[in-house]
Every structure is written in structure tokens, then in C-alpha cells.
Subunit: 303 residues, 2 copies
């Protein structure tokens, strides 16, 4: 008689398959959104409830005007530094030669490292995720006016899962505005509540997809039918706010931004905190890992 | 002794030079904005004052829901008609084969002719312009979602003056929404009060400029310095509203619209009324006239 074996799931079963060459699918989220309680950090019960329901929270005066000035000066300094401009982790627009994004700023800038490790950010991230956290990605963005391009709808988690090997939905992003976000200069748009649905994308990941997708998107882009269903169900919130305001949002929020013909550019800091219980494995839907400035493999918890 | 001759301005002196190969210039408007009084039509004193100051007025329930349905059905019918699709006055997007604009609809459609001649529109236009009016241009637009393009800042009058030979600023446009205008689906943006400043544009008009400029803009586009000055001085209004709402705006308003990544397309009717005292002459800054579907030469007053 043969012994019976209980089927064990593999160590990193793919709960969120995507880019498997098949159809686009809407799937339920398998992970909790809010892990902590009101006593565990600065967010009160109402804020935790709002984050759980909408998938995001906004904060009016998250940093001081003096800090905004300091961050803008640091962005200007880095954008003018030939070594920074030449780095692979810096995205320079070919036509204008202007710096659009600088990644990994928590490692390359003392000023940005300090805010990335600031309790105002880290304590909130720990409270939402219920564990210690580490920095999965950081960047500073400068988005131009007079025809700056759009950023199509996407879930960050889908990319981090497919291309970076992030196993579960247990990461949050915090974005700090360095300029005013009007409704008309291409502000962040979020479909509130969309974080509870996973859009499994069709197609497959082309090799070195990130090089193209940093400038424009391809693989990992939801199809019109999925987006229409999500928008009809959840609506679209337009996140306006003053310099120094911030938004904290779940890794699986469906979000994007329109282009900007106004004269007013936008810039912001962007930090992604991942739970130390959710560290990266091998990519789930890509032949090889992206560079570490996009998906960090230093999982050291923030002290 | 020689007799003295008083210098006479030529019959159509160019009060609004543009595209003369020189610099961009901000020039004052030389023409009145509001010619009529409260007793002359449906607009009351407060509305006339608002139009004079901001250069535009909005109306919440300008047409009925049944009319909106009728207009949408007529747009769908025309967009499917092979003869309409093949006409030079119809703009079909090459990649999607979808109809984007149909011009001259007050002559090609009984339904649209009726609304173009409706007293709700015509009486308001006559009141603002202080004379009988005729239709300079008409069109119906279908603007897609999921990445529909932007329309850069411009003054309609600059084009009508340069390319159609409209002598003075004495025309108004009325746009009727057939869909909901959210802040996030590329609604009309106007710089309120900008109609009192004329932006004389640099460069020159390329031959058959209209063929390119119907899809994307080139000549007649203000430069960043002019736009920044106007936006800083006047601000930017985002015109949201329900289907059936309308906006009436002066021919020299600086306006544009951002792109639209949302799932929600926009469509609208657009009619331009010109004063019978402001009929077209030869183009001021183009080698030849544009086709009549863009700048009508039938100056018959609307009865």
C-alpha cells in the first residue's frame, strides 16, 4: 500500500498570476489591507477605516514649507549634477534633456534618505502593514507642463509581482507633493476601492520591459473592459492638494494621471514600503529581475 | 499748392497681426466684448457682466435629455454612414477608424440644422454681438477615452483671422455637451478674462495648415512665455457639467483641453456665430482660404 501524501503548495505559490499569455481577468484580492490597530501608530480608527475602504489616505500638511523648499532645492541640485544625470537610475527626457525621474534617492541623497526614514512616513507604513518595513523603491519625479504626457492606469503591485517577485499585497506607497496639484495639471487619479480587485493582465513580459515602461507603458496595462468595469464600480477620485501634502496608497490601487497642457509642472517624492514578511523572490512573470534601483533586494528593516 | 490728404486706413486694416515671422506678442483687444443690453435677449444683466469679464457663460440645462438622446443618435447615425465618413469635412482617426469630428452639420443634418437655428442659441448670440448673426462653423465632436489626446491652448479667433479672414473679434461659440464632463476626462479649460488679450503668434502659416491642424496643432499656437503670463494673470477654469449643459464663449478666449485616460469619452455640438458686420475677407496670414466647411462664406443672416 502506498502512503498518502498531502499536497503542499510550493513555497511561493503564485496567488496573483498575470501576463501568462491568456485573457485579462478580474480576481479578488487574497490579502488583508490594514494589519494594524489604532494604538499601533499615528493613524486613528477613522483613518484606518478609510484606508481599508478606499485604499488611500491624503494628508494636508504632511511636511513643512521649509522641507518642501529643501526637497525642491535638492531635486534641482541633483538634476544639474552630471554624475546623477548619467546614472542608469536617472530618467532624462531625450528631446528636452530634462530630468524626469531620479530613482534610489534614499541611497544617493542624504536629504531624501532622511525623509524616507522619517517616523511620519515609516510609522504609518508599519501601522498599515503590521510589521517592520523596508524600502522597496524610492524616487523623485519632475513632471513638465505644456504637454507633459499621461501615465496610463495600472496597479503598481502587478508590476512588482510580475517583474520584481513581490509575493503578496503588503506594501504601501507614500507620495509627497512638492508643487500644487490642480485638477488640471495631471494630478494622481485613483479608483477608490479598486485595491480589493486584482487585474490579471494578458500578454507576456518582453525582455527588459522596464526600459520601455519607465517612459511609456506596455505589458501590465489593464484592458479597456477591466478598466471600465472598475471605474463604473468605484468611480475616479482626483487628488488635488497643496505643496507639502501627501497621499498614502495601497500597492494595488488602480491609478494613473492625465497629461498636462497647463504651464504648471508637478514634482513629488515617492517612497514604497514593503513588509519584511513580504520580501522579494524571483519574478513571477519575467525572465529576469529588474535592477535594484527599481526593486530593492536589501531587505534590512528601517530602524 | 498741394491739397492736404487725410490718411485713410485701408478697408481691412489688420488690427490683429499674427504669424508674420516675428516674435510672440501680447496685444490688447481692440473690440467690445458685449454689444447688447439686458432687454435685447434672454441674458440678464448679471450674465452679460459675467460674459464681459470672464469671456464665457455656462448653462446647466440648456437642452432637454430627450434632445441629448436625439443628438447622440444623429451622431451615431452619421458616424456609420459611408458617405459622411468619406467626406473631406469628416475627420476619421486613422488608427481606430473612428469618427472624431463632423463639420458643417448645420448643412448636412436636419437635426443639427434645427438646433443651430434654435432661438436658445441664436438669441443669445445676437444679444452678445448686437447684430444679426450667421453660422461661421458647425461641428459635432466625439472625443475618446482610454488615452484620447489633448488639444493645446489656442484662441479660435487667431486662426479664424489668420486663415479665414475674420476681421474683428465679434463672434461667439456655443458648445452643447452630449456626455458628462468630469474634471478627469479632458473637459474644456478656459483662462477666464484672457479674451481681452490677443496673442500675436510667431512663425508663419504653412500651406494647407488646416489639414494638419485639425488633428494636431502647429501654427497659431501660443508660446510658453505668453501662456504662463496669461495663466498667472487669469487662472484656469475647468468646465465640468452634465449632458445637456452648454457653454457660450468669446472667440478670443484662450482655451484647450487635456488628454483623457479615463474610460469615459466626451462628445459635444459646437456652433460658431459671427456678426453680419464682421463677415470674412481674404485671410490675413495665409496664402489661401480654408474650405467652407471650416470658414463659411454664406453670410446669410439666420432668420
Amino acid at each position: 500500500m502506498t502512503g498518502q501524501m498531502t499536497a503542499q503548495p510550493p513555497a511561493h505559490a503564485d496567488l496573483y498570476p498575470t501576463r501568462t499569455g491568456g485573457e485579462f481577468l478580474l480576481m479578488p484580492r487574497e490579502d488583508r489591507v490594514v494589519h494594524g490597530a489604532p494604538g499601533d501608530g499615528p493613524l486613528d480608527a477613522a483613518e484606518l477605516e478609510r484606508f481599508g475602504g478606499a485604499g488611500y489616505l491624503t494628508f494636508g500638511d504632511f511636511v513643512t514649507p521649509a522641507e518642501v523648499d529643501e526637497f525642491r532645492a535638492e531635486l534641482a541640485r541633483m538634476s544639474a549634477d552630471p554624475r546623477v544625470r548619467a546614472a542608469e537610475s536617472t530618467i532624462v527626457e531625450t528631446s528636452s534633456q530634462e530630468v524626469r525621474s531620479i530613482f534610489d534617492v534614499h541611497r544617493s541623497s542624504e536629504v531624501f534618505a532622511r525623509i524616507a526614514h522619517d517616523p511620519r512616513l515609516v510609522d504609518r507604513a508599519r501601522q498599515i502593514l503590521g510589521t517592520d518595513v523596508y524600502l522597496h523603491q524610492s524616487r523623485v519625479n519632475a513632471k513638465p507642463g505644456f504637454g507633459g504626457g499621461d501615465f496610463f492606469w495600472h496597479s503598481d503591485f502587478e508590476t512588482w509581482h510580475a517583474e520584481d517577485g513581490m509575493p503578496r499585497m503588503r506594501a504601501v506607497s507614500i507620495s509627497i507633493s512638492l508643487t500644487r496639484n490642480h485638477s488640471f495639471n495631471g494630478p494622481l487619479m485613483i479608483m477608490p476601492g479598486s485595491h480589493t480587485t486584482y487585474v490579471s493582465c494578458g500578454g507576456a513580459t518582453p525582455q527588459d520591459n522596464y526600459k520601455a515602461s519607465l517612459m511609456m507603458q506596455g505589458a501590465g496595462t489593464p484592458n479597456p473592459a477591466a478598466l471600465t468595469q472598475l471605474a463604473d464600480r468605484h468611480g475616479i477620485d482626483v487628488l488635488t492638494g497643496e505643496p507639502g501634502s501627501a497621499v498614502m496608497f495601497d500597492c494595488n490601487c488602480m491609478h494613473g494621471s492625465n497629461g498636462n497642457i497647463s504651464p504648471y509642472p508637478r514634482s513629488n517624492l515617492f517612497f514604497v514600503y514593503n513588509s519584511v514578511e513580504n520580501t522579494l523572490v524571483e519574478p513571477f512573470s519575467a525572465a529576469r529581475r529588474r535592477p535594484e534601483f527599481l526593486g530593492a533586494r536589501d531587505f534590512t528593516p528601517i530602524p
